[in-house]
Point group: C2
Chain length 342, copies 2
Amino acid sequence: MRKAQYTMQDIANQLGISKSTVSRALKNHPDISQETKDAVNKLAEEMDYQPNSLALSLRHKKSFVLGIIVPEIVHDFFANVISGVQSVAYEEGYNVMICISNESPEQEKVDVKAMYSSRVDGLLISLTKETKDLASLQSIINKGVPTVMFDRVAEELEVSKVITDDFQGAFMATEHLINQGCKKIVHLSGPNNLAISKLRLKGYMAALDKNNIAVDESLIVPCPKGDLDEGKEVTKGILNSGLDFDAIFANNDVSAIGAMNALKEEGKKIPEDVSVVGFGDWRLSQLLDPPLSSIEQSGFDIGLQAAKLLFEQIKAEEKDIEFSPRTEVVQNNLIKRASSLH
Amino acid sequence: MRKAQYTMQDIANQLGISKSTVSRALKNHPDISQETKDAVNKLAEEMDYQPNSLALSLRHKKSFVLGIIVPEIVHDFFANVISGVQSVAYEEGYNVMICISNESPEQEKVDVKAMYSSRVDGLLISLTKETKDLASLQSIINKGVPTVMFDRVAEELEVSKVITDDFQGAFMATEHLINQGCKKIVHLSGPNNLAISKLRLKGYMAALDKNNIAVDESLIVPCPKGDLDEGKEVTKGILNSGLDFDAIFANNDVSAIGAMNALKEEGKKIPEDVSVVGFGDWRLSQLLDPPLSSIEQSGFDIGLQAAKLLFEQIKAEEKDIEFSPRTEVVQNNLIKRASSLH
DNA sequence: TTGTATGCGTTATCAA
DNA sequence: TTGATAACGCATACAA
């Protein structure tokens, strides 16, 4: 049977004082005599007394818990986000409660309600791919729970958001290739309907433009599925078509790997014959042979920024200051190839 | 300013009834008239009333929260464990609170205390690599919090544990190679002082033994560091030494990739010339070219088993039944190579 | 310097 | 069928 927890009342009884004195002694209240404090602290130590956060939270209407809802967790990006959030939460003395919506909008709704029931002091959320109904999220926002969306955000909600800079990342990747001397850069582009695909394409074109390289439409090859086989096939296709190119900037990390595999099979050397850069988030870039340059969507930084933004809001609210939602754009990082650049 | 939350008292006031009636109506208590129930439910719906779990927890001395402490989260294995735990927790109507000890024993202690302060109904923990002092963990166990350790467990604690079957996994990997016709199987072995290395080596030897293949000591090559370069160098070394072999079973996934890279550089075909199997946990096995067979330490299953074991214990305790700690061993899975086996 | 009383939101016991 | 009250563990306004 689970032992009853020790409470302040227990300490008070043993010492023959009142529980409010114990309460004050434990938090080093100036009114309490050193003598009493010492006695209380000593006994608390002996009994291994641990305060009950639940009672505290109820009392203060503040749980010191942050909620985070992610679509999946077995994914470096989201794992990194959580890691970033945790690091900020720790500093602030907060705990983190996690829900995984599993890409299910229904689960997501349940999660949002659970977060409110747990009275989290703030909520971080990245939406499911299929989330349409924002009612439950809107509802928790209406209830005044500070909320920050990240990565997969909903434009229509008036909350702070943290997103990656897709344009800038693509720009960096492309310019990185240009700086290596590449002039005919293939872009494996993503689905046209996705905002991120468009932004990455724009970044690619902007970099070319800045460096006075004309955009060649035939170098922009769609890779909508973004899987390994597609990347491989598409790359073999352009190799066989005789298209002249000296680099590939892939919209997607998996497409990039597919492309690398195709290049190697066709006897091309990387990066001597063709340089490849991918856009994505995966620590295994360095396990590939040769290692792949990549534009990393820094999940950690996103988590960091999102959590900081959330705390700004939480603190503003505590002080009853108005807080205007804003959107932070997190810079991407170019993970340099381990081998030398040509 | 954060709006005040609605409480049962608010519903009661508006309806001119008492809060206890509201409480009963909301949980469909048989004593309450249908009329009242309908009125209460309707108003609760309108006000978007959400019960306060904190008050509930305090009242019931039960938080419906599971705590999980992992050394890191940006790691497929632990991410999978969390995923497995979540799936069980959801079914039981529990939430999950996560702490990341970041491989720091100090942080771990803080986390354990935080978990107790939050009055989690159960704790899952995988230790830091350097954890020596188990006092805080012992303390929370003494307080009667159901606890299950997984993967990195401490022998000396009398709690349930869930671990992977290293012997069986290595046995499977080796027999998989034998079944493909391999007879001279190199084993890239891990650090001698680690229990898992020994178990994997024993599994390798047992499989050979069962299949009447003599153990050749020269085929057992140490790869203590387990990094990419080591795997590559060691493999090149054995290739240059003229050692005759037709397969590699690597103790570690990264060593396996290093080995593959070396083989490819030396013009060996995989799996035609040499078959490779790794021991580890990484979804990218299928992104490699060729995809690598691997013995997967199923983090998800570990999480599943650990959580189930934990709930068994929680429920036994609620019913005041005594519960004896036990250790579950989770079977590994062999992820088959996508290409055909020879 | 310390004690008493009250409330946080909920449920359960006992009356009505 | 409903209401009043106490209790969960803690902090604080007010008394002493």
